[in-house]
Symmetry: C4
Subunit: 214 residues, 4 copies
């Protein structure tokens, strides 16, 4: 069995994540006005970018959360096998697609199709994450020896329910009212940043330990 | 004889690969409709993006395969000489060109010129890979001492036949029917992801050994 | 308490910074003239890009300064906690936004709204930097043991006053005359590159020490 | 005196170089034809992209050469001081500008202004390289102890004459005939790739020694 260099897979993935978050802003286009436009004209034109700004911030923070989850999983993995590599590649595929549904949401915020596409892509991305965890769990010698396998398994099952369920709910709520969908999508980063840290470190990450500057 | 730092060549190459896969999605442009477009309108407009979506997925996975091959070769190389560096640079040149034939295929899927350009670029990229392998093989001290040179040579000859031949076939089949070309192009990632791993690790990679987290 | 791998956070941040500085140039679009345009025509069309060129150079150098500050802070940090990670993420959020106000300034140089947005974004970015310093200071075990905490605290308070104040002043001066705003924005890199090095190394960075090639 | 982490400066620079070479292709836009365009139509439309293709290849290879030179210099440097960092930053500034003159050359190949801008930017980039070498030479303790200072000094003076002179000549020859300018610009990568390796390794790089996989 051959393995991939973990550091190169991390470097490639980090590169993709860094580019995605940075490309997202390219959707925010400077309004086209005449060059002698008044302050009020430019101000009003910028206000129209608000939906794009909101979907940009949500997507940016979601990619950061994906990065954190990616970091957490790879931190518990000792070897990158063929299967882990390709599940990681499919995860990157969904992630690199994020600029498209983000732009769609920015352009057609009130159209339920936007929420369906955005939530659907995120649900599939989330599902791939669970697949990556599962692949790491069931392959021999992939997880580091000090990882608590029972905990890792439980966290994998939870991730399967939590992510895809939440994003699908957001996607479907868009059919009722786009503000409900946006509320669900915005809740993910808010919850993750402010409430998730302590819980995760206790319940999900028994294999993690303090790392010093590598 | 001076050598290049292998880690910097890898970092540069990984950066280029990461950017290519992420830039590919920029070709998927959100359709321009009026802002009060109905769900059906937006849905239909998105369906028209299907050819672009298919060519995006194929190109994404092909770049991942290139990354895997690049990783495999560099893993067997001890030193990066002037010749290896520039063959690697030409490989990156073809790779960074991929967004163009991908966009061409997405825009003119049924036009044989698209398949010819896409398959032709991929064949040249594949040829450069074989050149890189050959340069590594024939230069003194480039391959790691534990690499089985007879196996490496055989794999190099096989890569010369397999890649360019396959891509040229796809390119030419586009003259008959674009679906035949797409089937060949899509077969490459499918074959590589689902059937290639075991075989490669036995037949092509005798010099590889398990790597732990670097 | 779990920590993040400092090297991966650095790699992710470096990737974002590298992409930002490089994307900035995409705003400089080649003028559209007929292909038989005379030398004078093309020269005049290029001259019109001067405001974009100036705002590009200023933004480029500002991102380099942000990189230097980021490097300085991370160099004094031993562990990346949840709090430090997310403050860093918000810093990257502001930074990845920079291409937008830069383009705005390039398009509407004389409109005070541009200076307000540019200066405002920079002030918020600068405020996030102070927040990151503060978080590093008040969290147990985040700063390296050899960092002089009194000096770090003083530098944090100074950064709180200096950055946001300076950028807000530039933003507001744009209401009087855009040249005043530009002068303030241009002064930041000039001051930082030519006068800041010696002072910083004595007053702000007592915890730093010579690093050899890692 | 404080120093920068050489590995982070390298990572940042490698990121910028990788993005530049990859962004260059974005200038190659797929032609807009009707979707039932014939093979001949598409073929003819693609032929019109030839000047852009040529300037793309030249710029791509030039950035690779810059990477090689950057690698060579940093390989001889032990510490990155404030001065070295900012000269490196200005080098990256010129490099990240390259997509603009490349696009200009692709759009207005026969207009002498394009050659002047392209050659001028390259000459300034080249001058910054010499400045970086000079700064490394004259600053105490920047060069590695095993670097032959007399050779390094001679190579610095030669780089001052060679690069800026060559690029200025190309720029000015564009006033006579654009093909002369293109010939000079194309000669640089051809010379560098096929003739420069042996000479450089003997005459310029006495401080270099074989590096194993880091």
């Amino acid at each position: 069995m051959t393995y991939f260099s973990k550091s190169r897979v991390e470097a490639f993935s980090d590169g993709v994540f860094a580019i995605i978050v940075t490309l997202l802003v390219l959707e925010l286009k400077v309004p086209h006005l005449t060059h002698d436009a008044s302050m009020a004209d430019l101000y009003k034109a910028l206000l129209l970018l608000l939906p794009k700004l909101v979907s940009w911030v949500i997507s940016f923070l979601m990619v950061c959360i994906i990065w954190v989850n990616h970091h957490r999983i790879l931190d518990q993995i000792a070897h990158i096998t063929h299967g882990v590599f390709w599940l990681n590649a499919f995860l990157l595929l969904w992630c690199s697609f994020i600029p498209f549904p983000t732009a769609l949401l920015g352009d057609y915020l009130t159209n339920p199709v936007s929420s369906l596409v955005f939530g659907g892509v995120m649900a599939l991305m989330s599902l791939t994450f669970s697949g990556l965890r599962w692949q790491a769990y069931r392959s021999h010698g992939v997880l580091k020896p000090d990882v608590n396998r029972a905990h890792f398994r439980k966290a994998t099952v939870r991730s399967l329910l939590f992510g895809p369920l939440l994003y699908s709910t957001g996607a479907l709520l868009g059919l009722v009212d786009y503000r409900l969908a946006m509320a669900v999508f915005a809740l993910v980063p808010i919850y993750f940043i402010f409430f998730n840290s302590a819980q995760q470190s206790v319940a999900h990450q028994p294999g993690l330990h303090a790392k010093t500057n590598a």
